[in-house]
């Protein structure tokens, strides 16, 4: 991160340094979209929520006492923003229900939509780690930093989520028999 540690960046941002905040934005944007996506089920709304979360963070970063907790702190803000969106639009569940039927395939014939739907039907904790890993592209360590906890627990959570997904997709005949 431009040679600076996370703590240095957060401290610098707290002092009003926009460049440092920009580096934090670049580092955590995808993660926050993933967090919001897991609650909203809608990519565009999730991007809106993540951007709004960063805006809220600007106003409160001065009060963040522990820079090393930035990711978890930002995640909570992002979750709150996403929950507010769900409430204000009263379409949290509807977003998921509006997706295509489980057997629908993408234009290339692959079962993308069905997979996405199955992911959104996972329990919240499993859904979040799957999205952070596959959608946001986070490593186990980055996920652990974002949601709190250890790499070990992230691995376990992801393992269980994948096991459930595999069972669900196999039942629906979406993926190959291997699943």
């Amino acid at each position: 991160m431009n040679g600076q540690t996370l703590s240095q960046l957060v401290r610098s941002a707290r002092e009003g340094n926009l460049e440092s905040f920009g580096l934090l934005y670049e580092r955590y944007y995808a993660a926050m979209v993933g967090v919001a996506y897991s609650l909203l089920g809608d990519r565009h709304l999730a991007e809106d929520a993540a951007q709004e979360a960063f805006a809220s963070a600007c106003g409160d970063i001065a009060r963040l006492k522990r820079p090393e907790k930035f990711a978890g702190w930002l995640r909570q803000i992002c979750r709150n923003v996403a929950i507010d969106i769900v409430r204000s639009r009263a379409r949290g569940a509807a977003v998921v229900k509006n997706l295509s039927p489980p057997t629908a395939n993408d234009a290339d014939g692959r079962p993308g939509e069905a997979v996405r739907r199955a992911v959104m039907e996972l329990p919240p904790r499993g859904r979040e780690v799957v999205l952070l890993h596959y959608f946001s592209g986070l490593s186990y360590g980055q996920i652990a930093e974002t949601i709190g906890g250890s790499v070990h627990s992230v691995r376990g959570r992801l393992f269980r989520a994948r096991r459930e997904l595999a069972a669900k997709l196999s039942r629906e005949g979406t993926c190959g028999s291997q699943l």
């Binding site: 944007y29 960063f54 809220s56 909570q76 709150n80 692959r110 376990g156």
Partner: protein
């Protein structure tokens, strides 16, 4: 068991379905679209530490559903505190055991004051929501306490909960604690000689305030400045599991002025105020002498680490008072509510309840209190713990109702509906409840 972690096909499908267009940060565009946020950031340094608590963005606990989030969070609880809970209900102990002392450059002055303070007193009130009306009417949904500390190693706690009043006095130099129950004219004396050295040191050093300092160090959010009774104070907010703690400390001396703790999504609230330092406290207040007319019962406190066995015993009692079904959530207040309702029904004539109560009376009440305390602590200590007992019948051998991973253990302890305990590998755990 098939290890899907290595399944490239599923990995590939997930990557294609979800990862084909990763979100890309466009910071310059974000800046253009959020000029007010940029301005707020640029002026944040000048606002630092002078925020308005009412306006802050506080990451709330909404949506937090792990069992830890529903249980009294008392991390690193001391075994001595477990003993105190017997006398004072879990709420007090939560405060006494919020953490260990630590070092801090910024708060070195506080530590010095703590060391130098000979005495300290405070008032505490605990309010519990969701209690049955009859309990509220009887004053059983609220608890009031007065606590006094005096060096070296003296503590007195006066507690009132409805008609029930008790006094607990502890003297670490004499290794003794006494509990006086006013209504029953009963005194219970406790021998603390088996108290582990580490716990003894903490009590002797009166690290009660050092724990407040530690909390302030751990706080992630500053609440800004305000005045309480004319004193300028600074606010701090700390979250521990489901417990939200707010501390207002004197802006100059850093001594605590007011603290509030809310637990279980606000279901339980504890407020501590009237902190006073170096007031004169007569030694007679800490006398271990048994008052005239009191009967005496001697007890030896069993100091042991919480284990799954404790939780099993608690769940056994709990399921019994609920008619054979495990509770929806594991919270001390629900346990208290269920138990009180059960006792009331027994007093109102329910024979089955009377029978169980009679059996219970024969048991060692103090031992059971400790078991329950350790059970609550066990759950609170394990962030990865899960409770899945809602609606499960006692005796259901197929359904796992609780699991957690003991410290330094690879395997999980799983408790089933028939209350047997098994060691289970992580990959074989049941699906976590939401």
């Amino acid at each position: 068991m098939r290890r899907y972690e290595d399944d490239k096909e599923l990995d590939g499908e997930l990557a294609r379905a979800l990862g084909s267009s990763r979100p890309k940060p466009e910071f310059s565009q974000w800046c253009r679209e959020h000029p007010q946020a940029v301005e707020m950031l640029r002026t944040s340094a000048s606002r630092n530490g002078r925020g308005d608590a009412a306006q802050q963005v506080i990451p709330s606990r909404r949506g937090h559903r792990t069992i830890t989030g529903r249980v009294f969070t008392m991390k690193r609880i001391s075994r001595l505190a477990a003993a105190i809970i017997i006398a004072a209900v879990a709420g007090t102990a939560a405060f006494l055991t919020l953490g260990n002392g630590g070092t801090s450059i910024a708060w070195a002055d506080v530590q010095e004051q703590i060391r130098n303070a000979r005495t300290m007193t405070l008032k505490a009130t605990m309010e519990m929501e969701g209690m049955p009306k009859w309990m509220e009417k009887a004053g059983l949904a609220n608890m009031e306490m007065k606590m006094m500390f005096k060096s070296p190693g003296l503590m007195r706690q006066e507690m009132a909960m409805g008609p029930s009043k008790s006094i607990t006095i502890m003297d670490m130099q004499q290794n003794k604690m006494i509990l006086l129950v006013e209504a029953q004219k009963k005194a219970i004396t406790y021998d603390l000689t088996e108290l582990p050295a580490e716990e003894r040191k903490k009590q002797e050093e009166q690290d009660f305030l050092a724990r407040i300092k530690k909390l302030i160090e751990e706080s992630e959010t500053e609440l800004g400045d305000k005045k309480i009774d004319g004193r300028a104070v600074k606010g701090y907010r700390v979250e521990k599991g489901n417990q939200v703690i707010t501390i207002w400390a004197d802006a100059e001396t850093a001594q605590p002025v007011e603290m509030t703790m809310t637990m279980f999504q606000g279901e339980t609230k504890m407020t501590m105020s009237d902190f006073k330092f170096d007031v004169e406290l007569d030694d007679a207040l800490f006398s271990l002498d048994v008052p005239k007319g009191y009967t005496v019962d001697k007890k030896q406190i069993e100091f042991k680490e919480p284990s799954a066995d404790d939780l099993v015993e608690m769940l056994r009692i709990w399921a019994k008072v609920r008619g054979g079904t495990f509770p929806n959530v594991l919270t001390p207040s629900l346990f208290m509510k269920d138990t009180m309702n059960f006792v009331k029904a027994g007093k109102d004539g329910k024979l089955e309840n009377q029978k169980f109560m009679k059996e219970f009376e024969k048991a060692d009440g103090q031992k059971i209190s400790l078991v329950i305390t350790r059970a609550i602590v066990l759950v609170a200590q394990h962030g990865e713990a899960h409770y899945a007992g809602k609606g499960v019948k006692l005796g259901d051998a197929k359904t796992a109702i609780f699991w957690y991973r003991p410290k330094d253990s690879e395997a999980y302890k799983v408790i089933y509906g028939d209350l047997r305990i098994e060691d289970v590998a992580e990959e074989d755990l049941p699906q976590a409840p939401e």
